[in-house]
Amino acid sequence: MTRLTRRYEFSASHRLHSASMTEQENAELYGKCNNPFGHGHNYVLEVAVRGPVDSESGRVISIGELDTYVHREIISHFDHKDMNSDVPDFADLVPTSENLSVVVEKRLRRQWSDSFRTATLDAVRVQETKRNLFELRDL
């Protein structure tokens, strides 16, 4: 099996706060991430795809087309945005990196089969800081 992974970056802010908990519970659970003014990260996004290597091109996927797609579906909506206010998926969803990974996967999935015929989305990895990495795999 051949899997190709491409790395992207975007910078965004968020605040971790759940409406179903009290102020104090939120503060205890999320700590600094509950700061009412929010805070930001340089997120690293890895998109892994798998599939056969095309005999003519020697490629699993066109890197140029993948870049265009990821920019259109993800980066343009997240980069230099506040996720709580600017990304509708987080209107009622806490933008933890777990939830961010799920949202990114859902958004990547939407037009995937129209854009890529032989390459399958294999994994989505979101790195919030150098110490926190979240992965959805075998999608």
């Binding site: 099996m1 051949t2 899997r3 190709l4 992974t5 491409r6 790395r7 992207y8 892994a48 290597v53 003519e56 091109s57 020697g58 490629r59 699993v60 066109s62 890197i63 140029g64």
Partner: protein, 140 residues
């Protein structure tokens, strides 16, 4: 639970991604700058992962000194500071995309490990920090 061990190696090589059966425009669209006529280079980073159980006597899945020797002999020595398209077979005929390089590395290493208790699990090849390929054989 499967136990994996990974050894890293690096080599620097130049390549050009260009399919002579396609037009200039098609090559440009497909490979971008990688189709430029004089080629260009990368510091490739290779991660070779073996799967197996630690030997009860040595406590090792595989002797990493031997693995390093095999990687150097089969991959690093023949490819380091080479122009892959001209100097390293099969890249005179096979386009040296990272997908094809990863598969070639697998094909060179896998036979060398057949007699050991460890199995080649994955070959990961970084072309840049932002792009890497994993290859784990055809059967998986």
């Amino acid at each position: 639970m499967e136990m994996l061990i990974t050894r890293k190696a690096e080599f620097s090589a130049s390549h050009r991604c260009y399919n002579p059966q396609l037009s200039e425009e098609a090559n440009r669209a497909l490979y971008g700058e990688s189709a430029d006529s004089h080629g260009h280079g990368h510091n490739y980073v290779l991660e070779v992962t073996l799967a197996g159980d630690p030997d009860p006597v040595t406590g090792m899945i595989f002797d990493l000194k031997r693995l390093k020797e095999i990687i150097n002999r089969e991959v690093v020595d023949p490819m380091d500071h080479r122009y892959l398209n001209f100097e390293v077979k099969p890249f005179d005929k096979v386009i040296p995309t990272p997908e094809n390089i990863a598969r070639e590395v697998w094909n060179r290493l896998e036979p060398q490990l057949r007699l050991s208790n460890a199995k080649l699990h994955t070959v990961r090849l970084y072309e840049t920090d932002d792009l890497y390929v994993d290859y784990s054989g055809e059967s998986v």
